[in-house]
Amino acid sequence: MVRVNSKPMKIKFLFIFLIFFNYSLSFGESYIKASNGITWDKTNQTYSAEGSVEFKNNEIKAFANKILASYIFESEKEIFQNVELNEKVEIYYENEVFKSDTATYNKQNSLIILLGNVSIVSPDRYLSGDELIVDLEKNTRTLKTKGKDSLAEALIKDE
């Protein structure tokens, strides 16, 4: 008979726990948190949130003073399609932070468009401009500044 307290059993339990822990982390959680309430407009299929607002899904985490999230129905489930962020926008994606006055995040296209007082902050760079297009799928960043040529960069991910 195998003893539960034996070392191999303990390792097995730890291994199983880690598998389940990793599985639950991989799904993460999606939410909208707001200090001044959330409004559900059923006719226009939107959720708007005001105050100190926080939005999180499996791709990004974002903060703003106002958020308008529109959704579509897919297999009888409501899925967020487009998220408009306004005032003091901060978007966190992996080790990058994008800041701007306004932003639009399109989940289907994995695209973030930021406008007004835009900046990108990461451990090895700080860039600022007027408009920033972040393509999460292609992993490219295109920064535009009035009167200057666009600065485009493609990030290479370590596999």
Binding site: S30, I32, T39, W40, A49, E76
Partner: protein, 144 residues
């Protein structure tokens, strides 16, 4: 002499009892309970109703239903509003049939196809088809 003392004692006892009864009345009777007592004749305990609409059937359950007037109904205690789109659980819900607004200032939990919304109250404008979740609110979605 003895009579005077007895009278004084009785008066003190009477004043104490009156003060105690006042304190009990103030602390034990919430405004909602006062309302419900005033409308005993128009109230129903463990109330459940089904309202058939154009698209769905609304089921309303509550600990107590009190009809305040022609346009206003209060659902006292634990209240549940359910249809095929969402389920709102709250307390002390007011239904204003004239302005078509259902609301509560108590903690509210709403479940719909997309997730669960917790808020400090709600206001449902039936005409505009808009539900406002008031105060500090959190919407946890079921998205993968």
């Amino acid at each position: 002499m003895m009579n005077n003392i007895l009278k004084k004692v009785n008066l003190n006892v009477l004043i104490t009892l009156l003060l105690l009864s006042q304190i009990i009345l103030i602390f034990m009777n919430s405004p909602i309970e006062q309302i419900s007592q005033n409308y005993q004749s128009n109230s129903l305990e463990k109330f459940t109703t089904m309202i058939s609409g154009d698209k769905s059937v609304d089921i309303i359950t509550s600990d107590k239903m009190v009809k305040i007037n022609e346009n206003k109904t209060m659902l006292i205690g634990d209240t549940n509003l359910k249809n095929n789109e969402y389920e709102i659980s709250s307390k002390n819900v007011t239904i204003d049939t004239h302005n078509m607004i259902t609301s509560s200032v108590k903690a509210t939990k709403t479940t719909n196809n997309q997730g669960t919304i917790k808020s400090e109250g709600f206001e449902f404008d039936q005409e505009a088809n808009i539900i406002k979740f008031n105060g500090k609110s959190e919407f946890k979605t079921n998205e993968d």
